[in-house]
C-alpha cells in the first residue's frame, strides 16, 4: 500500500517537473511574441465606428496582429515525445497534434480557423473592437471557397465548439436539440455548475461556455479571383488577441488583458451618435462633441506614455450603450474607469465641476471609487479651477458607474447650461487644461495604488470653500 503511494507520488512529481518546464518555455516564447506584436496592438482602439441603433462595421480595417509562422517558434525542433500528450480535444479540432503552435496553445482558450484547400497563400489579420466585445478576422488571398462558419472552432478547456452558436432563449423552456453542423456538442459532459436561468434541456445549454456568441461572415472577391473573407466574431468578453498559424490552421489565442498589461484604464467620452447629451443654448455646442474633444486631448497625453494600456469606449462619434461602456472596464479588469461628461441644469445659475461615484464605493483597500473621485476633483480644481462642487455619491442610480466592478468615477467638467461655464468650455485652452487635470489624476491614482497606503480623508472639508473661481467670476 505504502509502496504504491510512494510510486504514485513519484510519478506525480515527475509530471509536475515536466509541466513546469513546459510552462516556463511557453511564457518565454509569449514574452518575445508580445514584444513583437504589442506596438501593433496599440493602434487598434481606432477601430470604432459610427453607429445608429447597434454596432455596425467601420469602413476601414486596422490590422492589429499578423500571424507568426510556425518556423519562427523556437521549440519547433524539439522531439514531441518529451512533451505530455495533447488533450483529446485538440486532436479533434486541430488535427495537427505535433505542431509547435498547438503545443504552445494547448492550455489557452483558442479560436481555431481551419485552413482548407486554397488557403496555402492566405494571410490573416485581426482587428479588435473592444467596446462591443468583437473581433474582426480578415483572411485574404484565399484561392478557393470562402470560409464557412463551420471552419470556426473554439476550444475552452476540454470542450470544443464549432459553427454559429444559437441565440440563447430567454426562458428556459425545454425544446429539442437542433442537429446539423451548427450544433456540435462538446466532447465531454457539460460542467456540473449550470447557469441559473438555463436548464440543461435548453438547446443553448451546451453552448453556455462557448467564447463565441455570434458570427457574421462576409466575403469579397478580389480582381485576381482570390477571396477575402471577413469574420465578425462577437465574444463573451473582451480579450487580448494573439494570432498564430501553422500549416493546418490559424489560431487566435484569447488572453486575459491583465496577463498582458500591468496597468489598464478605461476612458469613456459620454454620449455620442444620436445621443447628443446637452445641447447648449442656440445649438452651438453638443455635449457629445465636448466630451470626445476632452477625451481625445487626454488620449494625446496618454499616448506619450507606454506604462498604461488605455481602452477608449469611443474615439469617434457613435453611441456605445451604457452597459457596453462599463462592461469593457469590468472585462479588462481595469484599474480605473473614468467617464467624462458635461453638466446641465434647469437652474441656469448652477456652475462648476463635480465628480460622481457610486455610493457602494467598490470598497477595495486603499483605492476605491470615492478616493478616485476625490483625486479627480482635486486635479480638476488644480488645473481648470472652476467652482468646486465636491464629490457626489450616487445611490446606485447611474448605470455607467453602478455596474462597475472597478474604481469608477464620472467627471462633470462644467455646466453647459450656464453661460459663463460654457464660455470657458468653448475655449480650447480650457479643454486642454481639463485633459491635463484628468491625466495628472490618473497618474496620482496609480501612485496611490502603487504605494498601497490608506489615504487620509478630510480634504473634502477644505474643498468647496472656493467662492471665486480662477476665471475671475
Amino acid at each position: 500500500m505504502l509502496r504504491r503511494a510512494v510510486q504514485a507520488s513519484f510519478v506525480l512529481l515527475c509530471l509536475c517537473i515536466l509541466f513546469s518546464a513546459y510552462i516556463h518555455r511557453v511564457m518565454a516564447a509569449d514574452a518575445a511574441f508580445l514584444k513583437l506584436i504589442l506596438p501593433i496592438l496599440s493602434v487598434s482602439e481606432a477601430g470604432e465606428w459610427e453607429d445608429a441603433a447597434g454596432p455596425v462595421p467601420p469602413d476601414i480595417a486596422l490590422p492589429v496582429a499578423t500571424p507568426i509562422p510556425v518556423e519562427d517558434l523556437a521549440q519547433q525542433d524539439e522531439p514531441a515525445s518529451d512533451l505530455p500528450p495533447l488533450p483529446a480535444v485538440w486532436k479533434n479540432v486541430a488535427g495537427a497534434e505535433s505542431s509547435a503552435v498547438v503545443r504552445q496553445l494547448q492550455d489557452v482558450r483558442v479560436i481555431v480557423l481551419e485552413k482548407r484547400e486554397g488557403y496555402g497563400g492566405s494571410t490573416a489579420f485581426l482587428e479588435e473592437l473592444p467596446t462591443t466585445r468583437q473581433l474582426r478576422v480578415t483572411v485574404g488571398g484565399i484561392m478557393g471557397d470562402a470560409l464557412s462558419d463551420g471552419q470556426v472552432k473554439r476550444i475552452a478547456g476540454d470542450a470544443y465548439y464549432c459553427g454559429t452558436p444559437p441565440t440563447p432563449t430567454p426562458t428556459a423552456t425545454p425544446s429539442p436539440i437542433p442537429t446539423g453542423k451548427t450544433q456540435m456538442a462538446p466532447t465531454s459532459p457539460a460542467s456540473p455548475t449550470p447557469v441559473p436561468t438555463l436548464s440543461p434541456s435548453d438547446p443553448y445549454y451546451v453552448w453556455r461556455n462557448d467564447v463565441v456568441k455570434a458570427i457574421e461572415t462576409t466575403a469579397e472577391m478580389a480582381e485576381d479571383g482570390s477571396m477575402t473573407q471577413t469574420l465578425l466574431l462577437t465574444l463573451d468578453k473582451t480579450y487580448v488577441y494573439q494570432l498564430y498559424e501553422d500549416e493546418w490552421n490559424y489560431y487566435i489565442a484569447l488572453i486575459r488583458p491583465k496577463d498582458v498589461y500591468e496597468k489598464i484604464i478605461v476612458v469613456d467620452a459620454g454620449h455620442g451618435g444620436l445621443d447628443a447629451g446637452t445641447i447648449s443654448q442656440g445649438g452651438a455646442y453638443l455635449e457629445k462633441n465636448m466630451n470626445l474633444d476632452m477625451v481625445l486631448r487626454l488620449k494625446e497625453l496618454l499616448d506619450e506614455q507606454d506604462q498604461i494600456k488605455v481602452y477608449y469606449t469611443r474615439t469617434t462619434d457613435w453611441k456605445p450603450s451604457l452597459r457596453q461602456r462599463i462592461n469593457l472596464a469590468n472585462d479588462v479588469e481595469a484599474d480605473f474607469f473614468l467617464s467624462v461628461h458635461c453638466n446641465a441644469n434647469e437652474t441656469r445659475a448652477l456652475h462648476g465641476t463635480e465628480v460622481l461615484y457610486d455610493s457602494r464605493q467598490n470598497a477595495f483597500s486603499g483605492m476605491n471609487s470615492r478616493r478616485f473621485a476625490q483625486i479627480l476633483l482635486e486635479e480638476m480644481d488644480e488645473h481648470l479651477g472652476l467652482y468646486n462642487r465636491g464629490i457626489v455619491a450616487r445611490e446606485q442610480n447611474l448605470t455607467v458607474i453602478k455596474y462597475a466592478e472597478v474604481p469608477a468615477a464620472l467627471v462633470e467638467v462644467a455646466f453647459m447650461s450656464n453661460a459663463s461655464d460654457l464660455e470657458i468650455l468653448s475655449r480650447e485652452e480650457a479643454r486642454a487644461q481639463v485633459a491635463q487635470g484628468l491625466f495628472d489624476a490618473i497618474m496620482r491614482g496609480y501612485e496611490e495604488l502603487g504605494s498601497g497606503a490608506e489615504q487620509e480623508e478630510g480634504t473634502e472639508e477644505a474643498m468647496g470653500q472656493r467662492k471665486e473661481d480662477r476665471w475671475g467670476r
Binding site: L274, A276, T278, I279, Q281, G283, L286, E287, A344, E346
Partner: protein, 200 residues
C-alpha cells in the same frame, strides 16, 4: 413614408400630433422612438424662438425633419408672465396648485376686463436643409376668480373660456380639441410641411 421627429417626451402630445398627421405621407416619431436623446438648453425670448431652438437641434442631430413645440400661459396683468417660463414658473418642481393660487392671489380684486389671458402654442418645423418655419396659435380667455374643474392639467383650472362659460378644466375632450391652441398650430405647420413636400 418620410419621417418627422417631434421633440417631446410627452405621450399625450404625440397622440395629438399623430392624429393630425394621419393620412399624410409622414410618419411622426417621438425622440425616443427615433433613438435620439438630447437635453436641449432653450433660453429663447419667445415661444417661437424656443420651439425653433429645439427643432433645429433635433434636425441637426438626426438629419430628419424635426418639429418642436413651446407653449405657455400669458397673463396680461402680470406683464405676460408666466409666459415662456410657464413650466419653470415658481420652480420646476412646484405643483400647479401652488402656481395657480399664486396667480389668483396676484389678480385678487382685478375686474374681469383686466383679467385677460391666453394660452399660446408655437410649433416649429425645421427641414434637414436648414429651412424652417414656425406657427403660433392662441386661445383667448380670462383668469377665473377661483380654480374649477378637473378635466385638465397645468393652468387649465384657472383659465376661463368665455365662448363656453367654463374653465378649460371643465371642458369635455371634444370641446377642448375644438379650441386647442396646439391643434391649431399643428394644423398650420402640417400645411407648411405638406407644401414643402410637394416641392421635393
Amino acid at each position: 413614408m418620410r419621417k418627422i421627429i417631434f421633440a417631446t417626451g410627452n405621450e399625450g402630445k404625440m397622440r395629438e400630433i399623430r392624429e393630425i398627421f394621419k393620412g399624410t405621407p409622414y410618419e411622426v416619431l417621438s425622440m425616443k422612438e427615433a433613438g435620439i436623446s438630447a437635453d436641449i438648453v432653450e433660453d429663447g425670448t419667445s415661444f417661437e424662438e424656443n420651439a425653433l431652438i429645439k427643432a433645429r437641434a433635433v434636425a441637426k442631430l438626426s438629419g430628419e425633419i424635426a418639429m418642436a413645440d413651446d407653449s405657455g400661459l400669458v397673463v396680461d396683468f402680470l406683464g405676460g408672465a408666466p409666459g415662456i417660463y410657464s413650466a419653470r414658473f415658481l420652480g420646476e418642481d412646484t405643483s400647479y396648485e401652488i402656481k395657480n393660487q399664486y396667480i389668483l392671489d396676484q389678480l385678487k380684486g382685478v375686474l374681469p376686463s383686466g383679467r385677460t389671458a391666453r394660452f399660446v402654442c408655437a410649433i416649429a418645423v425645421v427641414f434637414p436643409d436648414g429651412e424652417s418655419g414656425v406657427r403660433v396659435a392662441t386661445v383667448e380667455g380670462r383668469i377665473a376668480d377661483a380654480p374649477a374643474g378637473d378635466n385638465g392639467f397645468g393652468y387649465d383650472p384657472i383659465f376661463y373660456v368665455p365662448e363656453f362659460g367654463l374653465t378649460t378644466a371643465q371642458l369635455s375632450m371634444e370641446q377642448k380639441n375644438k379650441i386647442s391652441h396646439r391643434a391649431k398650430a399643428l394644423e398650420a405647420v402640417k400645411r407648411e410641411v405638406l407644401c414643402a413636400g410637394t416641392d421635393v
